[in-house]
Symmetry: D2
């Protein structure tokens, strides 16, 4: 079984055992995903460099768990919306390549619509 | 190559072509992940039932793309922190089974610490 | 003293007593604000109607405290960026009135750019 | 009229003119607040120092507007939940003073539960 199919099955089983499907509207799952992403961010919010070394080993374990939670809700939402995540990334990366042409944006972190107003283009 | 290894390679290549690694501290990636999760949530925020049908086809395409963005940043963060996402989920699901025993939480969506104060336990 | 000036002073004093100004870059404060907003959202994420009555009294107290945290970080960020929040709202409401003309959007919750493509306009 | 009372009236009028109250369950408003907080954060996510100067004047205008949006949704949520924001902050600051005693946390940005396990306390 592929990794994503395996995750989907694992999460489905966990949810079914708890009769939690009733809470899992796509809207609620999108909220939960957003909340988990913020719990992940919380571990980094006061760091100065923001690098892994500054985080420390104990925090890194918590960070791993928050990342797992994000993935679990993402996989669950994909299941409910019938989204193939691998295909979605492939599709989005094509769009990103158009929005952010390498030769134009190299070393520059602005959003794509901000490039349009560059005077020399 | 496994799905996650494939995604990691895809994202690395995209980043390297743009010389964006310099922006990708774990802290910044955690912010970006959180921002993408909120963009995903935005599509659902005023829905009444929150079900997929209420979303509509055009919105579902946008939702797929936001889900892809969330996954891309999650994979990138995992790469920078040397986190094996499949292992992290396996590990977290064990903890979740302890925190949320099926027989105790069935049909109940409260957080684990709220169960502790139930008078009849 | 006006309410916002009072809040600003209160927060400044709290921060100075703890020597926390060193952590309060606008970027870090924006992260913290976002994290607090997610903690607020967490209390609502599994609700079915999403109405106040469904929340219950005990949760409402927690919600009040999360709202206070959001306001505290917003006031702090405004202080660091020299933003007059009352003036900012006045300014933004003018823009909102242009983006969302009452006669056009009545009873409709779509984003402003979605109106542009309505066939009958 | 006090500042918060003025804001509440301003927002109520804007909402009523558009017949948007039907979308304003506390749950939906908490989502919208969280989404706006993330839009605010987005302007900071790739900054290196995270200081105001790095943001630039044009971005600062956008940041002001996102801050206004956050405040508008916070005021609206407070209106729907009958929360007095000034009282909520006063109440929360008392709790914060207990959780973060100045002499204990000076110059330290950890969360309150992390202090409990410090070996020398």
């Amino acid at each position: 079984m592929s990794e994503f199919a395996g995750l989907r099955t694992l999460v489905r089983q966990f949810v079914d055992e708890r009769d939690w499907d009733q809470f899992h509207t796509p809207k609620n799952l999108a909220s939960a995903l957003s909340v988990e992403a913020a719990e992940l961010l919380e571990h980094f919010q006061w760091l100065k460099t923001g690098e892994a070394a500054e985080l420390g080993q104990a925090k890194l374990v918590e960070v791993r768990h928050e990342m797992a939670d994000v993935l679990v809700y993402l996989v669950r939402l994909a299941d409910k919306l019938d989204v193939d995540l691998m295909a979605a990334v492939a599709e989005k990366m094509v769009l990103n390549r158009v929005k952010y042409p390498a030769e134009l944006v190299r070393g520059d972190a602005r959003k794509y619509h901000e490039y349009k107003s560059k005077p020399d283009q």
